[in-house]
Symmetry: C2
Subunit: 463 residues, 2 copies
């Protein structure tokens, strides 16, 4: 259909001033007095709506005036500047055709709804200002991430979701099967007969694409994944979901410093891109969701991230142990309270904590010369805590095998991973960015359920 986007009306105001155009969209509010009516129309292409003025010169004036919020109309009229009014221009309608009615039980009446209520109608909530802004920013941020890596010649790899290995034992996994759970096939000795399952063996949903994508880094030098990952963890928090998207770049001929440099450049790029491409949405978040958000993000873009070793971080945190539920000491894992104290109170900006004790990090991280720590780096940001976890990878076959033995891992299941260290091993590094946490950070939204279209959490899998 030959409709003009409301975005175009706002972005090319001079072009459209005085012009007759046709728009289509959904009514956000409608009111009328005797001879004149006002429709606030949103067509989803722009955060701000278009005001449409219609009069009783229209044959269907009464019918229009009876429309409910949520109804869809197609309106034709002239765009007229309205100096001094709240909006810069409005449409004076010549025709308003009703495309689709909205019944009186429409759940999104013109009033404030709680986020909790809106979570019960995930199929409708993107029609509200808050969620229109969230999911627009999410889309633009996703594209920014692709642009960042593609401009730098990183190759996007779609690593598999269904996997026969459990990666790093990073978390509880979902099993995937085609067997009838009412009647699970069993072998003679009573075990599950996986020869009857689709893949002929037990398989799970991936918790990380990292081990797979490392194999592609050894072909392309610089690669990244951007896809869904899964955790079957029974944790009902505002930061955990069972299904979420993750970005995992992997770089060859790169060490931990290169890794942090790339992570910092990526975050700054994404923030800048979103601030530039979603100014209306970001102004909305700044005003209604998280006052100070834009200043904080600009501050991130314009300053170097802090960098501190785990050992130094522990020394700093120990002085404040009276403030923490969990007291810190060298060797302990950092809790969110510690991470947030470091980034919010001490650094007041994002900070990389590097070189953690090997015992609290994954097997594939590169052992430092001290023999005690590994070349890991977590990026902590105010308001969230850890947003990125990365490391240089162990590229020495003998050291990697020794570490796997120490941890009792089955090396034959990781032969493909060990092969990378046999055939042209190179120093390499990578990190993982949880995309939902990134969107929360960009928008100020406090609950992961409010940045996913249809969130999956323990006990919840609606639509």
């Amino acid at each position: 259909m030959d409709l003009v986007d409301i975005r175009a009306l706002f972005e090319e105001q001079e072009k459209y001033a005085g012009q007759k155009v046709t728009v289509g969209g959904w009514i956000r509010s409608i009111r009328d007095s005797k001879a004149i009516g006002f429709i606030v129309l949103n067509d989803g292409t722009y955060f701000k709506p278009l005001q449409i003025v219609y009069s009783d010169a229209l044959s269907n004036f009464a019918e229009i005036s009876k429309l409910n919020v949520g109804a869809a109309v197609i309106a034709t009229g002239t765009i007229v500047a309205t100096p001094g009014a709240k909006q810069p221009f409005e449409m004076q309608a010549e025709t308003v055709e009703i495309e689709g009615q909205s019944t009186a039980d429409y759940p999104l009446q013109k009033k404030r709804h709680t986020l909790e209520f809106l979570r019960t109608i995930p199929h409708l909530r993107a029609r509200t200002n808050t969620f229109e802004a969230v999911f627009k920013v999410r889309s633009v941020a996703a594209y920014a991430i692709h642009s960042f890596f593609q401009e730098r010649n990183f190759v996007y790899v779609h690593t598999p979701l269904i996997t026969g290995s459990d990666c790093e034992g990073a978390g509880e996994m979902f099993q995937v099967t085609t067997m009838d759970l009412n009647n699970v096939p069993k072998t003679e000795d009573g075990a599950v007969d996986y020869s009857k399952d689709f893949f002929g063996k037990p398989v799970n949903l991936t918790v990380s694409g990292q081990l797979n994508v490392e194999t592609y880094a050894f072909a392309f030098k610089n690669v990244y994944t951007f896809g869904p990952t899964f955790r079957a963890e029974n944790s009902n928090t505002t930061r955990h979901a069972a299904e979420f998207w993750m970005i995992e770049p992997e770089m060859c001929f790169a060490d931990l410093k290169d890794d942090c440099d790339t992570a910092e450049a990526m975050l700054k790029y994404v923030i800048s891109y979103v601030l530039e491409h979603c100014p209306e949405e970001m102004a909305f978040f700044n005003e209604f969701i998280d006052k100070g958000l834009i200043d904080r993000l600009n501050n991130v873009v314009n300053n170097e991230f802090g960098r501190i070793s785990y050992t130094e971080a522990i020394e700093l945190l120990e002085k404040h142990n009276d403030k923490f539920d969990y007291k810190v000491s060298w060797g302990c894992d950092l809790q969110t309270e510690h991470e947030r104290f470091l980034t919010e109170e001490i650094f007041k900006k994002p900070v990389f904590v590097t070189d953690y004790p090997k015992e609290i990090k994954a097997f594939y991280m590169k052992l430092n010369p001290d023999g005690k720590t590994v070349a890991a780096a977590d990026c902590l940001v105010p308001g969230i805590g850890e947003i990125i976890g990365g490391s240089q990878r162990e590229d020495d076959l003998a050291i990697l095998e020794k570490r796997m033995d120490e941890l009792g891992m089955k090396k034959d299941e990781y032969q493909f991973y060990l092969d990378l260290r046999k055939y042209g091993s190179v120093r390499h590094a990578g990190f993982g960015l949880g995309f939902e946490r990134c969107v929360m950070y960009l928008t100020g939204m406090a609950n992961i359920r409010d940045v996913e279209s249809f969130p999956r959490t323990v006990g919840n899998c609606e639509l």
Copy 2:
């Protein structure tokens, strides 16, 4: 590390001529005579390799010469033009440091390997010319799709992978569970006790994001998904995988013609983008994989796609029934042999077939005024058959409910979908593009297993 990409050496030849640079990469081949050696080095950033000349002036000349294919080195030297030679320039090395050895059992020796053999080493095959080209094109094509939609202000929506509904009954599904299959919890009456499962009910991996993304189209007008989908079908063909990526745009205020226009523009955009950004890779496919590929793709870009109704297509095909294993007649579904005959023999270019009998299409497709056909459109392309399936959607609540009743569907499970027709219904349309088939079409690769990083098919889930 401060390395120069081999891509930069080729793309900025004037800048680097006579300059001293350092590169890092993997040896594709190596040979030496008494006092001089030649390394063909690939660093993954560019399809063509760099020739490095090293001499016995280097203290580790003997050590270098013993390196195997696949070893990683870091070389510093001067870039020197080589007029008349196969390659436009070479590096005259001052130092060649060995980053990582490659043992003699490296599976990718310098010889031709079959695609079947390479499928057995998915963690290494991207180091070959063929798969380096495939996965570079795949990455660039994915970005082209994002660019196409983002430039047109479509909102990228991450629809969920784990789902409680079965969409359109489009195919066999994988079940997702955290229950112990050795000991499935049962209720008192012997049924599976899903209250013990992670989500408290049976859930599956999605076969399509369409129904979910339609809800977002009603908020943003134009949206798209680009994510993994799953089919648990026991079909061992060259075109089917259990896990694959799909692009599903959905547009409001759009009819079937708009749908086809967008699909055609998208395919042309992606082809043009890949031809422009991957000229070396495409020349390789054209020479070694599929002679005539580039001409065929240019032909697609420069011509309008054909458009024909199903009824007309059947009339054309019936004249050739002697050529088909399955004879066609009105009402039958088109098989790949018919689709390919239409696009390859009759049209000799891509063609949309529209307005199929409602019985062979999904419940949500818009009923045409004839009461017999629906506003569906499949896009058929030479060499593949169907690459895109789309339709205008039924936006009339009463007609949709009637159709669901006819098919015995449980309407209460689709209340969210029916809500879209209650609250501001608008004409809308969308389509699905199987991304792997798109990559096959772009590269001429004939087997879906050769365009996925780690393909999942019945009985196969390696790494």
